[in-house]
């Protein structure tokens, strides 16, 4: 029998896909868009994440765990699907590689500023390629290892206890932020993205995986972690300072001062490579999954190489951090649409199939 994802691995995998470059600037974005006690907005956003996950759960139930591509191909001719697949494939690998490029640009703020970023990107893509080739089960296991490597960083947040002041939090809720809260929602929501790839995990899960429960738990975990980081940041920096900090997490790391070692932010930031790596790998893996539908006869190794190569070439385009950020934001807007739109479309399709009796056959 084919190996299936375990519930624990699936939870960690989805969580690690969610946590990535967006989380580095998350406290600042919350401060800019939501103002005082912006960290509370995390819970509002989480409600939408859970709603979206519930929609995906409906797809899972209606399709009885069958691959979403099978569902699509049952009703829609391949010739129509091909351009959609092509777009999805290119889009997912692009979003993965843009996240990687942004990570590298941020890394170069603190280390190796004069090295060409595409050298780092090359190594990053190579690692991603090696991991994708190992298949989803191994990616899940590796992400668990990566999770263990990075999770302890959260305990460093107790280091800020002395400089944390409740008065800095203020009793005001969502005051002094950007009046356009809808934009704020769309700018902060991408920090949660990654859970929508659960759609592609259907064939790799069985009843024991409790895939949708894993998706809910991982989103819950991301919510708690984000709320905690943002809460500490608001009490440590205060609203005004937080609004002008590009990457508050980097300054928090730089503040850690151990008796024998200091300036460990380079090291700590290096650890966050692992979270970004899983984000990139999972998005590229999704692209490969779509690619397999377009070119079923092509070897997976060749296909994933071509897809990663495409991502690498695309990542040449943003030449600066701000450009990479802008691209990633635009891509994230589309991904939000996809995260809600794709499962809704699938539900409609599944209902049509059911009414026609196609599904039973």
């Amino acid at each position: 029998m084919k190996e299936k994802l375990s519930a624990f691995h699936a939870t960690i995998l989805i969580y690690m896909t969610q946590v990535g470059v967006f989380s580095f600037s998350l406290p600042r974005m919350l401060a800019q868009h939501f103002g005082t006690n912006g960290w509370l907005a995390i819970f509002i956003l989480a409600a939408f994440v859970f709603l979206n996950t519930a929609i995906i759960a409906v797809v899972y139930r209606l399709s009885k765990g069958k691959s979403v591509f099978e569902t699509l191909e049952r009703s829609i001719p391949k010739i129509v699907l091909f351009p959609i697949y092509l777009c999805l494939c290119c889009f997912w690998v692009t979003i993965g590689c843009l996240a990687a490029k942004e990570y590298i640009f941020i890394f170069q703020i603190i280390a190796f500023p004069s090295t060409h970023p595409m050298i780092f990107m090359f190594i990053f893509c190579m690692l991603a390629y090696l991991l994708i080739n190992k298949g989803i089960y191994n990616i899940a296991k590796v992400s668990t290892v990566f999770y263990i490597i990075t999770v302890w960083i959260l305990f460093l947040f107790f280091f800020y206890y002395h400089d944390f002041k409740w008065t800095r939090l203020t009793p005001f809720i969502f005051q002094g932020g950007n009046p356009d809260k809808i934009k704020g929602f769309f700018d902060v929501y991408p920090a949660f993205l990654g859970y929508e790839l659960t759609l592609l995990l259907f064939p790799y899960a069985d009843k024991k995986t409790h895939l949708m429960r894993s998706a809910f738990i991982s989103s819950g975990l991301a919510t708690i972690v984000y709320a905690f980081i943002a809460f500490v940041s608001f009490g440590f920096f205060g609203l005004g300072y937080l609004k002008v900090l590009q990457y508050p997490i980097l300054v928090l790391f730089a503040y850690v001062h151990l008796p024998l070692i200091e300036r460990i932010e380079n090291l700590l930031y290096g650890f966050l490579l692992f979270t970004t790596m899983i984000t990139t790998v999972m998005n590229s893996w999704a692209a490969v999954e779509v690619g397999k539908r377009m070119f079923p006869k092509l070897k997976t190794a060749v296909l994933s190489f071509l897809i990663i190569l495409f991502g690498y070439v695309i990542s040449f385009i943003p030449e600066g951090l701000m450009e990479a950020q802008r691209w990633l934001h635009y891509a994230a807007y589309i991904e939000i649409g996809l995260a809600f739109g794709f499962p809704i479309a699938l539900i409609l399709l599944l209902l049509i199939q059911r009414s026609r009796g196609e599904f039973q056959s």
Binding site: I110, T115, I123, D163, G238, V244, Y255, R263
Partner: protein
């Protein structure tokens, strides 16, 4: 084939080290930077770089450049040394008072933008020329940059002089309920001494607290953990009465009440306790009645001095103890935004209540 991958990857990873090299012996780790404002509005920027070379006659290089900005001075400073200057171990930033009077925001913006500068770097004000202070060698003391740093570090550890770091300064600047502070040092001939604490309104230096009042400022600004404090109850002619608390712990609480007209009234409660290892006066520490009288006297004395200090700050419109944050949190956001805080602050009623307690009074009765 699979076995070759790790080797290839490792080689590639190692190769990245061939670029962006920083060789320790050729690197100068800047320790302290001084900033002075010149009459033509340019800056005189000084740099103290410790030297690790055992063959060198001096233990540091002190460089100086006239420039339009801190980064503008960098190439001029670099031209004077064989070392590659880096900021990763920067410990102290010394600003002259005239420069601080004009505002430090531009400097702070550059400093906080640079990721190589640690957020824990100290912000210090210099009475007189900052560069001259940094350049001078003090025979009986360690290297001047290190001397200043350890002096301030020790003072901060014993909580007599509040610590001011880049992070704290910028954080308090951006917070609308508190103003930044920074210690002031001066050349006292053979030594360097702390000559007060500078009080800022926004990023501009306004006035200072004298060294004798620093413990009052410390009590008002934050909770103390192990401070030493001498309270002079009387010092007229030959009649002296003083009490010294060691290992003093204090808890500060600020309440905002409203008077009949709805105006805020600020109550500052300070609870402090410590060991008394010195008392000069007529009362007996082992007598309960005497001890209570003494504590009451000392508490009233601290209250009046604290209120004097707050009045001084109100007159200068500097909110160095962060009363604004408590007033802000006691009202609605819209009312706070409408309020001209510094005007309101200048006329605010602030009262202090001090509770003192003696934990022990040493080995003798």
């Amino acid at each position: 084939m699979n076995k070759r991958w790790p080797g290839l990857l490792l080689t590639l990873a190692m190769l990245t080290g061939c670029d962006d090299q920083h060789i320790l012996e050729r690197t100068g780790f800047c320790h302290t930077i001084s900033y002075d404002l010149l009459p033509d509005h340019n800056f005189k920027i000084g740099l103290s770089v410790p030297k690790a070379d055992p063959n060198s006659k001096t233990d540091r290089e002190v460089l100086q450049a006239i420039a339009h900005s801190s980064k503008d001075s960098q190439p001029k400073l670099v031209r004077q040394t064989s070392l590659l200057l880096v900021n990763g171990q920067l410990r102290n930033l010394l600003f002259s008072l005239p420069l601080a009077e004009g505002g430090l925001l531009d400097q702070m913006d550059t400093l906080s933008r640079d990721p190589s500068i640690p957020p824990k770097v100290k912000i210090t004000l210099a009475d007189g020329d900052a560069y001259d202070l940094l350049k001078k060698n003090y025979k009986e003391h360690p290297r001047t940059d290190r001397y200043i740093y350890t002096l301030l570090e020790k003072e901060a550890a014993y909580q007599t002089v509040p610590e001011a770091t880049l992070y704290e300064f910028i954080r308090d600047y951006y917070d609308d309920g508190i103003d930044p502070i920074a210690p002031i040092i001066k050349d006292a001939g053979d030594t360097i001494t702390v000559s007060g604490v500078g009080l800022f309104r926004g990023d501009r230096y306004i006035t200072r607290i004298k060294p004798d009042d620093l413990h009052i400022l410390a009590l008002l600004r934050h909770n103390l953990r192990h401070a030493d404090m001498t309270i002079h109850l009387a010092s007229e002619g030959q009649h002296k009465e003083l009490i010294t608390f060691n290992y003093l712990k204090s808890d500060r609480k600020i309440d905002v009440l409203r008077d009949k007209s709805g105006k805020p009234v600020v109550m500052i409660h300070i609870k402090a306790s410590g060991s008394v290892l010195e008392y000069i006066g007529k009362l007996k520490l082992h007598s309960d009645a005497d001890r209570n009288t003494l504590l009451q006297q000392a508490a009233r004395h601290l209250e009046s001095r604290a209120e004097e200090m707050i009045k001084f700050m109100q007159d200068n419109k500097v909110d160095s103890i962060g009363i604004g944050a408590y007033v802000r949190n006691s009202m609605s956001y819209a009312s706070w935004k409408k309020l001209d805080w510094y005007e309101e602050y200048a006329h605010l009623t602030v009262q202090c209540r001090v509770d003192l307690n003696i934990i022990n009074s040493g080995q003798t009765l």
